[in-house]
């Protein structure tokens, strides 16, 4: 990596943190305009970004940051009112600065900041204590010499410097992924080595192989842990999101966040951002009532959304709760019956409500969406959360509020799975998609619509025989087939669809370490990754979404 790239990466990482902090603190400032600490914090962040952008020769970002800083400087002088319009302007400027930073770092042309800069200057001019000419000339003139490139530096000094005082380093996540993959490879090699040693090796050799194994497990754990980042990295953006959504919906909404120091795998955090945005938007748009309606219902005019994260054993639970009107159960049930998804006389449970609303057919029906207010994107939310090995739970009480619980594994690389055997090979089924394993007589398999079906809990599930699917069509493998005439089945559920797969044998439930996997050319496209069993043998992870 060149020195310039190194600086650009440092700049990007640090600027992003400061931008997130600016958004957070701006919202806090709006709520408590007298809060000196928020103001100081925003000032420091934008000041730091200005300094860094200047050093990188990023003119647009520098100019924007400088003008935001000037506004904040006046505010620090306590000469001016902090009102929602000003906060809007500052948030908008922060967004633009964010865009400028990202574009510049990506080597693209940053957006033209002139319009926003003019508004920042106008705000300053609206006050008599600012010297108009100074404000204008400052805005127009670049703060750094236009053509000053970032300092060009040669290779680092030859003598290695003494270890710097800072005890943290930033690492590209791809390096940690690579490290994890190498560890996976190493585990496989150790498996082979162990098999050889067990056959012919001495006791000492066996001991050493075992010791190497436990050291590798420890290493794996260390790598997993180093991928963890606190959830505030995304949570801190949400007050802004909720505020904007509430403003455009003419509602009064407060957001309360807790547990934001909790740490999650970086990729997991990236994956849950969009689902959380969906749930929060839905809570504002459809959950929280208008201030008048709330008053009529005897509630405070401002609704409250609670967002929290907490650890429960090896899982993380993220809760999105609103104290709004809840889901209209009758209407959802009525629509579901119309589509034949729900028997006439059955009242749906909370979890069944979620099943119904997360069905693709439900969310596309616009009328229903407007009535129930919860259809949009719920299927996306569910699929995404399940895709990372998590699950979604719904609790809703009419007039009182709606709660979504997202339960997630701590990391994407370790997940619970059901290990099964087919034709002598082991396969892993991610446990979030498995409903139940059961046995049934061959005689219970029915033919209909050109495929096989089995009955599970009074439901007919399409049956996929893994023996056929995984053996490239040559029929029965050489594996242990269990009792003759009896099928070993796993009921699976994915994105609201249920299916059954047949296997030769259930082996175990295990926490597996998933390794990314490039399937060989021409392989059946049903694998999402690979893992190494404790005995050193590999097992492929089945991609449930592709099985039916």
């Amino acid at each position: 990596m060149s020195q310039q790239d190194k600086y650009a990466q440092l700049f990007a990482a640090e600027a992003r943190e400061h931008l997130a902090e600016m958004s957070r603190a701006l919202i806090a400032l709006e709520e408590a305009p007298e809060d000196r600490e928020s103001l100081d914090s925003i000032f420091r962040s934008v000041h730091t970004i200005k300094g860094m952008a200047g050093a990188m020769g990023y003119d647009v970002a520098t100019r924007l940051a400088h003008n935001i800083e000037s506004v904040l400087d006046e505010l620090r002088g306590e000469r001016r009112d902090i009102n929602p319009d000003l906060i809007d302007l500052l948030l908008e400027s922060t967004d633009l600065l964010d865009n400028a930073v990202e574009a510049t770092v990506a080597g693209q042309t940053p957006p033209d900041p002139t319009a926003v800069v003019e508004r920042l200057v106008l705000w300053r001019l609206a006050d008599e204590s600012t010297d108009p000419e100074a404000a204008v000339s400052e805005a127009a003139a670049p703060v750094a010499p236009k053509d000053s490139p970032a300092p060009q530096l040669a290779a680092p000094a030859e003598t290695p410097p003494r270890r710097p005082a800072s005890s943290r380093v930033r690492v590209d996540i791809r390096r940690l992924d690579a490290l994890m993959n190498l560890l996976g490879e190493l585990t496989i090699v150790r498996g082979r080595l162990r098999a050889l040693v067990n056959e012919a090796g001495s006791e000492l050799m066996q001991e050493l192989v075992e010791e190497a194994g436990s050291l590798m497990s420890e290493m794996q754990l260390q790598v997993v842990e180093s991928r963890m980042v606190p959830v505030w990295q995304i949570f801190d953006r949400f007050p802004r999101l909720v505020r904007d959504a509430a403003r455009s919906a003419d509602k009064e909404v407060e957001i309360e966040i807790s547990g934001k120091e909790l740490e999650l795998d970086r990729s997991m955090l990236d994956a849950i951002n969009d689902p959380l945005v969906h749930l929060l938007r839905n809570a504002v748009d459809h959950g929280i009532e208008s201030p008048d309606a709330r008053e009529k219902a005897g509630k405070p005019r401002a609704g409250v959304i609670e967002l929290s994260a907490r650890r429960e054993r090896s899982r993380v639970v993220i809760v999105v709760h609103d104290d709004g009107k809840g889901i209209d159960r009758q209407r959802v049930a009525k629509e579901a019956r119309k589509r034949g998804w729900l028997p006439e006389d059955v009242q749906p449970s909370d979890q069944e409500l979620l099943r119904i609303m997360a069905r693709p057919g439900f969310s596309t029906a616009n009328k229903v969406t407007n009535l129930s207010g919860r259809g949009v994107g719920l299927n996306v939310v569910e699929d995404t959360i399940r895709g990372v090995g998590g699950s979604v739970e719904l609790r809703s009480e009419e007039g009182v509020g709606t709660t979504f619980l997202l339960e997630l594994p701590l990391t994407l690389v370790i997940m619970p799975a059901l290990i099964v055997e087919v034709a002598g090979e082991s396969y892993a089924l991610p446990a979030t998609f498995t409903r139940e394993s059961f046995e049934t007589d061959e005689g219970n398999v029915k033919q209909a619509h050109g495929r096989e079906w089995v009955t599970w809990r009074d439901r007919r599930l399409p049956l996929t025989r893994l023996q056929t699917l995984l053996s490239n069509g040559d029929g029965n493998g050489a594996g242990n087939r269990g009792k003759p005439g009896v099928l070993s089945l796993v009921a699976l559920e994915f994105g609201g669809r249920q299916l059954a797969v047949s296997v030769d044998r259930f082996v175990a439930e295990e926490e597996i370490v998933v390794k990314s996997f490039d399937p060989p050319r021409g392989a059946v496209p049903v694998f999402s990754g690979a893992t190494v069993r404790p005995d050193g043998r590999p097992a492929l992870v089945l991609d449930i979404g592709n099985l039916s």
Partner: protein, 120 residues
């Protein structure tokens, strides 16, 4: 023996850049601090030949840190790293005991020049 420097700035980016400039010129960066409080503590601990000091930082700004360090060691050599538009603060820092200042964005030659002049 190369001269030792303590680099104080709340941005890792800036610390890295200043550190690289100094190391390249043969100075030894013995420590870094990201706040005024940390700077004062590191100064006592490391007794560096020179300190580069940012002005705007959380947890005690650079000017207060200069006062504290000068109280501890009136001979301390502190170079202020200021941004454009902070002339007033630079003057305050010099009054508090800082010896010189450089303005961000840095020209490496200007930084080295200032450091060498201070360390004579």
């Amino acid at each position: 023996m190369s001269r030792t420097v303590l680099v104080v700035d709340d941005a890792i980016f800036m610390r890295t850049m200043i550190g690289d400039i100094l190391r390249q010129a043969g100075f030894e960066v013995v420590g870094e601090a990201s706040s005024g409080v940390e700077a004062v503590q590191k100064y006592k601990e490391l007794k560096p030949d020179l300190v580069t000091m940012d002005i705007v930082m959380p947890d005690m700004g650079g000017i207060d840190a200069v006062r504290e360090i000068i109280k501890e060691d009136p001979e301390a050599k502190i170079l202020m790293c200021s941004a454009m538009g902070q002339q007033g603060l630079v003057v305050e820092a010099i009054q508090a005991g800082a010896r010189d200042f450089v303005v961000k964005p840095f020209q490496p030659s200007r930084v080295i020049e200032a450091v060498q002049r201070l360390l004579g």
